[in-house]
């Protein structure tokens, strides 16, 4: 096969979209951008021009048929786009086309040469390489002769191609076709569709490249975000199983827990699940991990889905964990949002972006059980979340709430198979007491203790206690204290005698050596 020159592409500067289109929009050709009202068409167009002007030194022309230039400037100002500044530096030209039907009368034939001249003048005056027409279909509302309009639009798009400008033409979504007036008939090199989908009262913005002549492209629907940072498209479905593996241990931050894991901590880049009933201290385990990361001078990103950052900081301070100092030093960052605020895709998309931006070594997701919905959907999101984290090599601790009645180890959402290390927390009920127990349910690629260890939440954080076993199993709570006292007494009495009860701490790393724990 002869290698053909790749189609020349113009980067939009919108992260993600350039990845999906493998480089951007076709250079020197018009692209149709369609979507219903409120999909972000204008913002896409403006971003394309601003990024073009600022990052690629390509001046651009915005011809708006809808919004006033002042309104557009004001709308994008919060994104840091200085349209008046760009206009002053001749990197941008805005021309508003006002069409007021009531003001005009039609008498005889006409063409749209005025539009061509205007656009041509704007392009030539700043040497524009990019053009956005937003939304040219509004002409249909102002001029009655649709036949003339259609032939003129066809001529316009051909003319734009001849001019060699990379153009975005926006169009309102129509019934049964991509645009209300069938613009897709004329602009057929590249078609991008935006959508706003509401499901369970949650809106997800989606983007799809419907067609791209002469180029391959991602064909899925990709979620995209519009927020204070502008637009980001998140090609997260492309995550695969290509991540690097590491043998390097990452400390868990909990004294004693490291020793339960054969590697002396979690593997770097692995995904860890800490499941437990409410009040078992999942957030504290997570905070320990975050604290340990930051204390090593690495960054940690903490996704809080149930508590506000302030609340977490205050609560874990009561157990002796000072997260505030890490926040102050900038090593720790919280991203808090109610799970119901966005759709799953959007959450994933945001997390992906936040991770890319902050580049943390570790992350805490507290809790993943906050994601409720159809099991298959949740599973798919979590699967991709784990994939993303692994691809980026981020060690992740996710917490999961299990209900009181469920067995300590039982999990839902099909996550067990995704998880490398699973630490289960639960209540040990014995002798009329409830005590807290922790054990490692699984840990891929390393030996681990099979013991249930009692732990306490003290004012110095979580403390794992030595194991005392009896013929009845592990002793916890007052039974353990009793055994402890007894043992101390005995050891004071006779120095080297055999004891019925002995601390099993020396054996805690013993892999398969110990008897069944309860």
């Amino acid at each position: 096969m002869i290698e053909h020159a790749q189609l020349s592409k113009s980067a939009t500067g919108i992260d993600g979209l350039d990845a999906i289109t493998e480089g951007g929009l076709p250079t020197g050709r018009p692209t149709l951008l369609c979507g219903a009202a409120g999909c972000g068409k204008t913002l896409f167009g403006v971003t394309f021009l601003v990024q073009g002007a600022v990052r690629f030194k390509q001046p651009g022309v915005l011809m708006t048929f809808e919004e006033r230039p002042d309104d557009i400037s004001a709308n994008v100002e919060s994104l840091g786009y200085d349209l008046p500044g760009l206009i002053a530096s001749k990197s941008l030209a805005i021309d508003q086309v006002r069409i007021e039907r009531g003001e005009s009368e039609e008498s005889g034939d006409y063409d749209l040469e005025g539009l061509f001249v205007r656009l041509g003048h704007a392009i030539d005056s700043i040497g524009a390489k990019r053009v956005v027409l937003d939304t040219i279909e509004n002409l249909f509302g102002g001029l009655s002769d649709a036949t003339v309009l259609r032939s003129e639009l066809r001529r316009l798009f051909a003319w734009l191609k001849e001019k060699g400008v990379t153009a975005i033409i926006t169009g309102e979504r129509g019934e049964g076709q991509l645009t209300r007036h069938g613009l897709e008939e004329y602009v057929s090199d590249c078609v991008v569709l935006l959508d706003n989908r509401v499901q369970n009262q949650i809106t997800t913005r989606l983007l799809r490249v419907v067609k791209y002549r002469g180029s391959t492209h991602g064909t899925n629907e990709y979620p995209f975000l519009i927020d204070h940072q502008g637009i980001s498209v998140l090609p997260i479905t492309s995550a695969g199983l290509r991540h690097q593996t590491s043998n390097e241990p990452v400390p868990t931050g909990v004294q004693g827990l490291d020793d339960m894991l054969g590697a002396g901590g979690y593997y770097k880049g692995s995904s860890v699940l800490i499941s437990g009933t409410s009040g078992s201290g999942k957030t504290i385990f997570g905070s320990h991990f975050a604290d340990a990361t930051c204390s090593r001078g690495e960054r940690c990103l903490y996704f809080a889905f149930e508590e506000s950052p302030g609340q977490i900081v205050r609560n874990v301070l009561s157990v002796g964990l000072d997260l505030q100092k890490h926040l102050d030093s900038g090593l720790l960052r919280f991203e808090a949002a109610r799970p119901t605020l966005y759709g799953f895709e959007m959450h994933l998309a945001r997390m992906n972006r936040d991770l890319d931006e902050f580049k943390p070594a570790t992350t805490v997701i507290d809790p993943i059980s906050a994601f409720r919905g159809p099991e298959s959907e949740v599973h798919s999101v979590l699967l991709r979340m784990v994939d993303i984290l692994k691809t980026k090599g981020i060690t992740a601790v996710m917490t999961q709430l299990t209900s009181e009645h469920e067995r300590m180890a039982s999990g839902d959402q099909g996550i067990p198979s995704l998880i490398d290390t699973w630490v289960a927390l639960g209540a040990l009920e014995a002798g009329g007491e409830r005590n807290r127990g922790v054990y490692v349910l699984k840990s891929r690629g390393m030996g681990h203790s099979n013991q249930v260890r009692e732990y306490q939440i003290t004012n110095k954080g979580i403390r794992l206690l030595d194991v005392y076993r009896s013929v009845d199993g592990v002793l916890v709570g007052s039974a353990r204290r009793q055994a402890q006292a007894l043992q101390q007494k005995k050891s004071r009495g006779k120095t080297n005698g055999k004891t019925a009860l002995k601390p099993a701490s020396k054996e805690r790393r013993g892999l398969r050596s110990q008897g069944k724990s309860r």
Binding site: E103, E105, S107, G108, E113, G114, H121, L143
Partner: protein
Amino acid sequence: MTDKTGSESPANPDIEIPSAAAADAEYVLRLYVSGQTPRSVLAIENMRRICAEHISERYTLEIIDIYLHPEACQKEQIIAVPTLLKVLPHPLRRIIGDLSNTEKVLIGLNLAPRPGATRPASG
């Protein structure tokens, strides 16, 4: 450069229109055309004829070639060509097309009643 033709006076609102009837309003019109295309030529011819027949001696007609004055398109919101702009008397009206439908032009210039309107033509 503006191309002023016919019996029109220079496009200056202060200019005295010769023999303008006191009661009749003076017309300031601008016709935007695209070079010498047949449609533009036709529009100019039609306009001159209509002016001569209906508002003779009390009009100023300015003919503007958008190729020579592209910036005027943006300023005056010209999209379709030809476009006739009635600057005076108020209100501003625009008539697009080659002006071959005289009746429509007269309506636009307020020289003929709008279909369905009871008000007689003024001017």
